[in-house]
Symmetry: C2
Subunit: 432 residues, 2 copies
């Protein structure tokens, strides 16, 4: 993509109310802006990152046989009256009356809607186990939205729901999702830490949160260094669930430093951003909403359910919190809006332009996800813009390039620069 | 995809309130169901079709250099007060108060939000022309939602907005979108008819509707047969805008049979489903919302704007209205949930199963978008299900196949059957 055909607008300053680094960098690099309090518009560059994260999540969900659906954003209140949560949910639920004075709401989560779906579509044990998921916009009317898309009001969430014939099968579904989530976060370029959690307002009796470490995380988390050691050795996603369960992990509210059995020298404490949360909650919704399925023996039963969430828009901020420096964002390759950028430093130089165009066309034909910064701005402006928006690999076409046909390749993360020939440049870019 | 790993549930009957054929077929084939009045959930099969249509639209938009963004579903009322439309819009607008008693609304369209976007991001004439678009869920609180997703309350729409320095440039953007829309609808497998339109509530002075012919269309449309002749000869998308403008087309409210200059024998009258609508409306929003841009001469000016919509979820219904028979849906290849289905008719036959599995694996490795109906249902049930859900190409593995290794290939639309060898089957499927 040539930058002349792609809408990019960066800003020198972020508004003072943007406190955390990811929020400041997202505003400065023009990924998003606030349309109204806690509600954001995604600009082309930001939407590309969001879509790449969405695609990775969908890929891993599909791989384990989850069925993608799409439930509406607007829900009828009566489902929540049936489940008994309508009055419990409080002011975070955006309640709406339609023109006929019917009570609706903007879904903060979809347990009720998906249970209603199941009562229409699932009639027999032979249709189980089944896991449905969607990636869609939710609304929670936070009293004080803050940190940009980290705690916005309208947010993109992947939410999944499992239906099983019994507890054993339900826990099997739970574990499938558990490992799928570990792989998802790793594929994005993050290190996930699953933490045993008391279940929140959603109810249930088995639950894990998935955290990403970052200085600005809202929760304090504690875990045994063994986790890092095993992860480094085998990859945590390749270890049995029962082994992972033995490793101590806890969030603030469950950790007690006097009773904790992990010796202080083995205990890591850091701050975490919660990016996923999974629950097994049994028959809470199937019973209250009368989801009845015919069993193998002909007798009807209430399926066992679980729900599984990932904060998709929040992940964009979490990735930045975990991947930036003083100059801006450093995208992991997997979610970068573009993997490679070509920067020309010689304006009004026909030879440089020809060389850049030739390289650009060659990279396009090699299917490289490349941005070509062909603006007639000063080199310094281009460098700082490209560092800010965080394209991970930069190919710089300078005065030397015109003479010898070579390029400077700069790694955004390490700052390491190499001199490469045309062919070396193409093969390196194609190999990313 | 094996049907055992994919959630499909068909129904023998559609509820009596489903009047039009597309609505009946969408419910019977389990593409969607109604979560509450005029609000639908998309099941896996339906969502696949919706996503394919969305991808085609995005592809054609990107090809002409439109920038994809994503604006929020919830908007602040104050933008609409600025533009002067807040009181005009009436009860179709879903109005909401948040916990702080602020007036919000669920966006029925996004002229105001995108004009606000432009005032933040577009400062100079050098950033123009620019066209932004999004594909996102809208809400219109229809008094009587009907015909399923054809006139639902929550619906998926592609909406685009152009910004130009002057009228000439704005009309150029308008024409670019006009042809992009013709190509989009053709790529989906439909025949679009652009109709000159008086502009509606949205305001403006140049406007076209795009209609698809179907018996159940809500509007009566009239056009000169010349349109069909030129389309057949050259493809209407390859004809100059000025030439197309000369061909008479009109919807009911603009057509007058006594004054119409087209001779009755050359005038075609049919019913149309409106699937797209484009407007050029000048400075209506830039002036009312004070979108000011610095011109080449240094003087500030109000950009010229246009807006461009496609009803994405409605298109699913429109495609079915234009492509079905007494047995069910007949998807055009481009938007079929799967292009090919393998149907085994021999249950408990190990040889048939092995042959089917071998063919399935071969098609997967040839990147064929294939569904494998491996259920142990009677052949008749499978045939009627696959006819109903409308997979365009069926490969049938019967008793003969076990003997001679050949397959029956059935075209869903024409009913034409051929006997093909294993290799012929693979190469025909790969060529679709």
């Amino acid at each position: 993509m040539k930058i002349s055909d792609f809408f990019i607008q960066t800003f020198r300053e972020a508004p003072a109310e943007a406190q955390v680094i990811s929020h400041r960098l997202m505003l400065r690099s023009g990924l998003i802006y606030q349309t109204c309090n806690g509600i954001y518009t995604w600009m082309p560059l930001g939407l590309k990152v969001l879509s790449k994260i969405e695609a990775i999540i969908a890929y891993e969900q599909n791989k384990i046989g989850c069925n993608r659906i799409l439930m509406p954003t607007i829900q009828p209140a009566n489902f929540w009256i049936e489940s008994g949560r309508y009055n419990d949910y409080g002011k975070e639920m955006l309640r709406i009356k339609d023109r006929h004075d019917k009570d609706l709401l903007y879904g903060p989560t979809h347990e009720e809607v998906v249970t209603d779906l199941a009562r229409r579509f699932i009639k027999s044990y032979r249709q189980l186990p089944t896991i449905f998921y969607q990636i869609s916009w939710k609304f929670r009317d936070e009293i004080r939205p803050r940190f940009g898309v980290m705690r916005g009001r309208e947010f993109l969430m992947k939410d999944g729901y499992s239906f099983d014939i019994d507890q054993k099968s339900a826990i099997n579904s739970y574990k499938k999702i558990f490992f799928s989530y570990l792989k998802t976060f790793k594929r994005i370029g993050l290190k996930p830490i699953p933490i045993c959690a008391a279940s929140g307002a959603i109810g249930g009796n088995l639950s894990h949160e998935f955290h990403i470490e970052a200085k600005t995380g809202e929760s304090e988390i504690f875990y045994d260094y063994t986790y890092d050691e095993i992860d480094a050795q085998k990859g945590i996603e390749n270890v049995a669930f029962e082994e992972i369960e033995k490793i101590y992990t806890a969030a603030d509210e469950k950790h007690n430093s006097t009773t904790c059995k992990v010796p202080p020298t083995r205990l890591k404490s850091s701050r975490g951003i919660e990016v996923g949360h999974i629950f097994y909650f049994g028959r809470k919704y199937s019973e209250s909403m009368n989801l009845v399925v015919a069993g193998k023996d002909g007798h009807p039963f209430f399926p066992e359910m679980g729900s599984y969430g990932i904060g998709v828009s929040r992940l964009v901020a979490a990735v930045i919190e975990a991947n930036h420096d003083e100059y801006g964002i450093i995208w992991p390759d997997a979610v970068a809006p573009f993997k490679v950028v070509i920067i020309t430093t010689q304006n009004n130089n026909e030879q440089a332009d020809t060389l850049a165009e030739r390289l650009y066309q060659k990279l396009l034909s090699a299917n490289v996800d490349v941005l070509f910064d062909n603006r007639s701005e000063r080199a310094g402006v281009k460098f700082s813009d490209m560092d800010l928006i965080g394209i991970p690999h930069q190919i710089i076409i300078g005065a030397e390039s015109v003479k010898n046909g070579n390029f400077e390749w700069k790694e955004r993360r390490s700052g390491i620069r190499s001199n490469l020939t045309f062919d070396e440049t193409v093969s390196r870019a194609a190999g990313i």
